[in-house]
Symmetry: C2
Subunit: 439 residues, 2 copies
């Protein structure tokens, strides 16, 4: 056999092997997942200059999904900064974790076939998959609900310490129920002053808006306490001790940053009844997604996600604190460093919100003062506090925070310039005064 013939034989064998491999991949690609995968990869590959994102269910222009720009950015690729735009620090949308999920794309993606879990119920008649239930327990999300099974003879009075999360008031009032009435600040009912009947005290810790770790104020058999631990995650606060209260609410959205993954409603019977009547359980594809996300979140005991979250929030708080330290007209809450049992060291503050106070007597409407430099926050009055307070959200995207910080810097430098002018004015007045006196 000539050398050429040997080469040719080898080459043909290689041809056959490669063809088999190519054909096999080809076949694999023809599977039912191909079109959805290609679509998702294409959308993810659209460039939006780091200031926006294209989505699978986004608007279509000329047959292609287009960029949805972050606030204050525009143009077809979100590359244009809109200078007159308002820095919106109102909502508590935890977008600061988006970069974490972009980094963990491969492990956090799900493929949902059209026939996935079409049934109303799982085959054990429950509304939540056993796997997700187990995963939530692993994430220490013990979710419970207020278990007054029958309508009580007199309505329970719902209270919270000022400043408090305004949705409590809205939720209680929306249902206009005979069972619950929102009464406002806990202190109104603390000193045995006209405070008969059943009480439900809502305790948010760390508190929304001011980030303080809180304890229940009311005691005794007629007082029930609901602990809202929505922000009790290492992103937002040192964890001094494991949460171990009777009635606790956790929110997965504040853990993973996914706005839709609220699982407040879960375990107790009355809450199950509510779920049955309102939405018949959490959507199956949501359960699948939450399961996947939680698996990533708790990998390596959650160290990576919590570390990412902590570093991001710590940097933001440091930058804002530095800016605010130059001001006398504005202040933000003071938060102590504390030992964190989760990270096993003393940690600085990383609150989800700044609780800004306008210190000058004339600045009674603090949000109006902020509007003068194109910032908007959430009015203190919504939290049962004075209007000279404003809640500023620090959990939004990098773009949002950067703009907020820049505008706060403008505000503080205006003060310092004004202060300079005021000093000059004071000198001038003194001079004029002196002049007058001597004149």
């Amino acid at each position: 056999m000539s050398r050429n013939t040997i080469f040719l034989t080898c080459s043909i064998v290689l041809n056959l092997l490669l063809f088999h491999s190519w054909y096999f991949h080809g076949e694999w690609e023809q599977s039912w997942t191909k079109s959805a995968t290609a679509e998702a990869e294409f959308v993810a590959s659209i460039s939006c200059s780091g200031h926006g994102r294209a989505f699978l269910d986004g608007s279509i222009v000329d047959g292609k999904p287009v960029c949805e720009c972050n606030a204050c950015y525009g143009g077809s690729h979100c590359s244009v900064f809109l200078p007159e735009c308002i820095a919106d620090a109102d909502s508590g949308d935890p977008m600061f974790l988006e970069p974490f999920w972009l980094k963990h794309a491969a492990s956090s993606t799900i493929v949902v076939p059209g026939w996935h879990r079409m049934s109303y119920e799982f085959n054990d008649d429950s509304l939540i998959s056993k796997e997700l239930d187990a995963q939530i327990r692993e994430t220490s999300c013990t979710v419970q609900a207020l278990s007054t099974t029958n309508h009580p003879s007199s309505p329970s009075r719902v209270v919270a310490s000022t400043p408090y999360y305004p949705i409590y008031k809205e939720q209680t009032e929306f249902f206009n129920s005979e069972d619950y009435k929102f009464e406002g600040d806990t202190s109104l009912c603390n000193n045995n002053n006209g405070c008969k009947g059943n009480f439900i005290e809502l305790v948010t810790s760390p508190n929304n808006p001011d980030g303080q770790l809180k304890k229940a104020v009311l005691q005794g058999p007629s007082a029930k306490t609901i602990h809202d631990f929505a922000y009790y995650w290492p992103h937002y606060t040192p964890i001094p001790a494991l949460a171990d209260e009777n009635l606790m609410i956790f929110t997965l959205s504040k853990l993973t940053g996914h706005g839709e993954a609220d699982l407040d409603e879960a375990v107790h019977q009355r809450m199950l009844t509510y779920m049955n009547l309102s939405t018949y359980g959490v959507a199956r594809e949501t359960q699948l997604r939450v399961l996947k996300l939680l698996k990533v979140a708790v990998e390596n005991e959650g160290k990576e996600m919590f570390n990412f979250g902590y570093q991001t929030m710590r940097n933001r708080w440091r930058k804002l604190s530095k800016t605010m330290s130059l001001s006398k007209w504005f202040s933000i809450q003071e938060l102590e460093t504390q030992f964190c049992s989760f990270s096993e060291r003393v940690r600085g503050a990383t609150p989800a919100y700044a609780w800004l106070k306008c210190e000058r007597e004339e600045d009674k409407d603090c949000n109006a003062v902020l509007h003068s430099v194109n910032i908007t926050g959430r009015h203190g009055s919504l939290f049962g506090a004075e209007s000279r307070f404003v809640r500023l959200s620090l959990v939004k995207s990098d773009d949002d925070f950067d703009l907020l910080l820049k505008r706060m810097g403008t505000l503080v430098s205006q003060e310092n310039n004004n202060d300079g002018i005021n000093k000059i004015m004071t000198h001038t007045n003194e001079f004029i005064g002196t002049d007058k006196c001597t004149g």
Copy 2:
């Protein structure tokens, strides 16, 4: 150049092309969607003998997802029929459409990356994507809500015609609101008999449980009507005319068969408030899935899905009607053939439920009679009707329906055997009687 050399050159070129192609696919496969795709394809490939299914979030045994068997089937591959098992015709779980979605796997699958729409809101501050909103409108799902914006001075009285969907009563009573009271049957308030105040009449058409097309009974300025068109789809009823009422509720779950895709709550402001307070909108991955499913559902004007649904339900109703025609002790509702403006021809009945009546005087508790042959349905009393009625669900899986039909056949043949025995007994008694008389 020798012939061999030419062959060798060609072969090497082919090798290079194939290698490039293989390498390219290799790279493509390394993308972030690979692991989720492989997982979904693997789970879908698990065989469960046609009597069950493995799911992505199903139980894991030895590191592999296992089959979840349909009711009345067992074994690791669901191949074992469980003969003593109860035919459960209670819930209205529309699983009859699962084969349609299996057939349309490629077009109905979605890939959801971990970073998909993490924000609480879309960038137009809404809670629903524009694309989905447009798609729902295309599907003619005009969803509206009761628009009493302020709490009225006296509670509205909620009524419905017997037999009615029991959840109305439960929902109204659960919230224990000062605004609404459930009063029961419409007829109690029809003859100007103690019927002052505001009324809200709930009209379900076709009706749940009995499949009849219904109209509002109450008229006048103090009566508001809510039309529940959950079953007003060509699967379940001829469509005599386009739905065009003031307040209409549609449910996507009964359209596509996906238990979780309820979008009852949507357009009006008060309903938006409710969504805000209870779950802050429909989960983003659910919206993505609904968008995808609706696109498949309305392809070619929905002809394929509606035809599949109609044929399936028509076959079921024919088989059940044939069995029941042999019985005098049991009857099912009569439904007229009607012109269907959607399919442009006269169509036979295809109700979602059989409304079974036990005709014998002594069979006052019809569900108890069914229990004797291992069938369970939903008690007529839950629909405000007599207990000699039972609602039997016809929309569940093929396995469920087949078993129901078989057991109903057993019941009817028992009757006919009994009837035979009775005739013999009558003859015997006559004979004995005669004997006695002559004795």
